[in-house]
Amino acid sequence: MLLNVGPQHPAMHGIVRIIVGLDGETITSADVEIGYLHRAFEKMCEQGPYNNAIPYTDRLNYVSPLINNIAYCQSVEKLFGITVTERCQYVRVIVSEMSRITDHLTCIGATAMELGAFTVFLYMIKAREMLYELIENVTGARLTISYARVGGLKADLPEGFEDKLRAAIAETRGVLKEVEGLLNKNRIFIDRVKDVGVISRQDALAYGITGPFLRSTGVDYDVRKAQPYMVYDRFEFDVPVGEHGDNLDRYYVRMEEMYQSMRILEQALAQLPAGPIQVGTDGQVIPAAVMVDEAKMGRTRGFKEAAVVADPTLEGTGRDGHTTVYSANKRVALPAKEDTYGNIEGLMNHFKLVMHGHGIRPPKGEAYVPVEGANGELGFYVSSDGTDRPYRVRVRPPCFAIMGALPKLLIGDSIADIVPTFGSVNMIGGELDH
């Protein structure tokens, strides 16, 4: 018998169609059909300047968009050959690890919910919510964050971030303990996931699978350890590995990874290089629009030192904090908003970077930087022809390889096992379908 699972089905996170052949309740064949969420990411990246691709990368993996942002920027930075400031690297690590935790929380929470453990879902979403609020605090948005820039970050961390993050970590630890109490010895949960969706180490490697999925088979490949990028080599953390490559091991690996991410977060907070010293503005704060109007009439006295009140969406892009998280390379980095609004050099610098036909221009070449996404190795292969637009942007979405191996995971199991196995794949439609 042929059974259509999806494209729209409550257990198909996103839209994907699996046509399974059944013999009784046993799956004998599986055909996975993807592409329902294709939004021409790679084609659209070629149409605009380099920084225009950043909002598109948000929408690839919408559960951990910060990692995508940062991975893309790192590839373009490699083309330029620039290194971002130390504080910026730390902030990037912090937000990446927060994203990893939110991703794993979503994955485990949703899988548990589909297996009937609704409480787990609510607890995990509660912890995720705390982290999302913090992410909103930093970036201004929950999901479509567009936080990274080529050469740095949009803005520095807000005031009081450290205390809030420590509180969120404590809360998340508590939630994980509760979830472990609910699931680890739960017969119903264990019976549904143990020895289900098994993949051998050889098969996982042959299918190019990476991330928690590969680690559940016992391979300790983690890009953060194997090819440390940013400042990951300065932190102590373990790479948890499984043994059997089944859904239960993937659950354990993801749970442990969240603890490890929190270890990294705490070390990063402790090592975070000192932030900028706020410069006294002597009450000379001018709304940006007024500043522009005044400057048009030539009244620019004192503007060079004045602070600007910019639109709330531009909060944090001012002079304080700008130099700490943004590259000093004027070919890449947008000037501080005070300079854009306040003096001709800043305005010209801004113009040269954002206007049509100008923009940032990496030298000709191609670059690929792998980072450890929440699902596995994520990397952008960016090709530059020396103009202000990428000639080609290719993303390697980690769940694409896993989805390619999905028939192998499903065949031989029963129809009810589709739900936990598919849940542990953590398919993200946005990145899978580009």
Binding site: H38, G81, Y207, G208, A367, P370, S383, G404
Partner: protein, 164 residues
């Protein structure tokens, strides 16, 4: 292996398959391989104990239509990674517009299955010996290959219903 020694090893050991180094790839080892020797080369570097490139991380293509220095229109790029040696090698193969076809890598890595379908879908490059080369992201009945440079990004096509 470091990039220089990796390149030297690949060039000396597989001299008859390798055309040269691809210097445009920054910070990683990259070689251009003859199209005819591609599959034997890929199988050889996978089983070579000194290289041990056991993972096909990614497979993609580039369309150099608007790039004047390039003779051939397409380039297929293999991103190979060695778990034991922790090194990466990009293998490029040039594909002319007149005959856009290369040997499939599915016998070497099953992971190539979906990647090759995607390249076929997006660039119209055929992979000889692929077990079922059909579109993956676009639907059957879609006209053209969208990531080709001569495909306008704002072109609209009718959305058709499911085929089966």
């Amino acid at each position: 292996m470091r990039i220089e020694s990796l390149l030297e090893h690949v060039q000396s050991r597989y001299a008859d398959a390798v055309v040269g180094v691809a210097p445009e790839v920054r910070g990683d080892a990259a070689v251009v391989v003859k199209r005819a020797a591609l599959r034997t080369f890929l199988a050889a570097v996978k089983s070579d104990p000194e290289l041990d490139l056991n993972i096909l991380m990614d497979l993609t293509a580039l369309d150099y239509l608007h790039w004047e220095e390039k003779e051939d229109r397409f380039e297929v790029v293999y991103n190979l990674f060695s778990l034991s040696k922790n090194h990466r090698l990009f293998v490029k193969v040039r594909v002319p517009e007149s005959d856009p076809a290369v040997d499939s890598a599915v016998p070497v890595w099953p992971a190539a299955d979906w990647y090759e379908r995607e390249v076929w879908d997006m660039f119209g490059i055929r992979f000889t010996g692929h077990p079922g080369l059909k579109r993956i992201l676009m639907y059957e009945g879609f006209q053209g290959h969208p990531l080709r440079k001569d495909y306008p990004y704002n072109k609209r096509q009718p959305i058709i219903g499911p085929v089966n």
